[in-house]
Amino acid sequence: MAPRVRDATDPAERELLSAGDVARTIARMAHQIIEKTSLGGEAHRPVVLLGIPSRGAPLARRLAELIAEFSDVTVPVGALDVTLYRDDLRRRPNRPLESTTLPEGGIDDCLVVLVDDVLFSGRTIRAALDALRDAGRPAAVQLAVLVDRGHRELPIRADYVGKNVPTSRTEEVAVCLTEVDGRDGVYLRREDHQ
């Protein structure tokens, strides 16, 4: 099922990152991943990028393309749907499932970098860690997010952050990506204006 496309600019929202900023931010994250995992170096562990649908999946694919461009190492990319592992299933209306695709060789003994658009409560990542456990046994797990907006409810932090944004709980951070929404950009909007 296709995710809900985010519509054109709302007067109540503020642009946090322009299309150019998004591209630069993702490129910087790609460089950081190469550096921190010593990709291309002597004894680096195989790295796998797993995006969390919907917007983490295209984000992971973009990171992989940039990593290949910057370092000549091709990292396998996949998608990991965490819906079945969420702890709020009973509190929300039924969600359609999205697809999980693991790279050909699996994730056993790899360094898995989870990729998502926004890090908020940390509950999605907790669900992703549980889902990973059923998918295989990675050697280590790291987390890359385009935006960290704070308000964590669990002891979870990101290894790679595109942009830290202080927010209030009543605000919403909307990440738009061309693959899903037809354009790139990150916006902050007040929930009551939706």
């Binding site: 749907d81 079945l84 592992y85 299933l89 929300r92 039924n94 499932l97 999980t100 059923d134 998918a135």
Partner: protein, 310 residues
Amino acid sequence: MKHLLSTDGLDPAQATALLDTADTLKRTLLGREVRKLPTLRGRTVVTMFYENSTRTRVSFEVAGKWMSADVINVSAGGSSVGKGESLRDTALTLSAAGADLVIVRHPASGAAHRLAGWLEGTGTGVVNAGDGMHEHPTQALLDAATLRERLGTIAGRRIAIVGDVLHSRVARSNVHLLTALGAEVVLVAPPTLLPTGVESWPVAVSHDLDPELPALDAVMMLRVQAERMHGGFFPSAREYSIAYGLNERRFNQLPEHAVVLHPGPMLRGMEIAAAVADSPRAAITEQVRNGVHVRMAVLYHLLAGEEEAA
């Protein structure tokens, strides 16, 4: 969605969502060592079977367990039903004991609907796993899932349902679901095995199987339900088999891509020849496999969502 009682009136969008969920679950679990999802932890599912069943009961139980629900099986033989307790009291007992969902099979048509009515306001949902000669919605859903998988689409496909339509809840559920999803359905049976009022169903009816074969995308063979027959519906088993059985000669008249389905249990040599049942174009074991994923999808849609204020 709180109950799944029939495919009659099931919204095509809802049906497609269920099939999509089943598909995703199947792909998610494919090749996994641990086929268990935590999604329905702490939910209690009770299966209540007043009629014999192998595949449906096992399939629901496996589906529930793979989703981490607690599954309890009650059969009419080993329970207080044997002491004369009514269906209503048994259901209220199970609900009071903590069942979030009751899956019921009963020889009386409409039993699941009555049950859903009695359980109104208790928060316990009901799934119809076959009620008399009325409906068997999850069977129709797994048939649709199998057809969609084999043929790519259901809309515009021509599907024959052959045999004992009169006594078949599988046929009724499939007629509603497949026509709602845009298929053309043709019922093929002797006049004695067609229900009265079949003219008003959204289907074509034929008494002769041979001329239908070359135009079919799928053929679904039904079991002759001897346990529900108390009269002469056809002269002899052999004559029925000759007129309506899917033998090898008939099988060869089907188009190359056509799929053979049977809801099981099948009577080899009666409605289907052994060689046909074992051919790669028969999807009979695939139906059983898909049954688990379809039932997981049903449990997910009924139990995972927001709790309604009871």
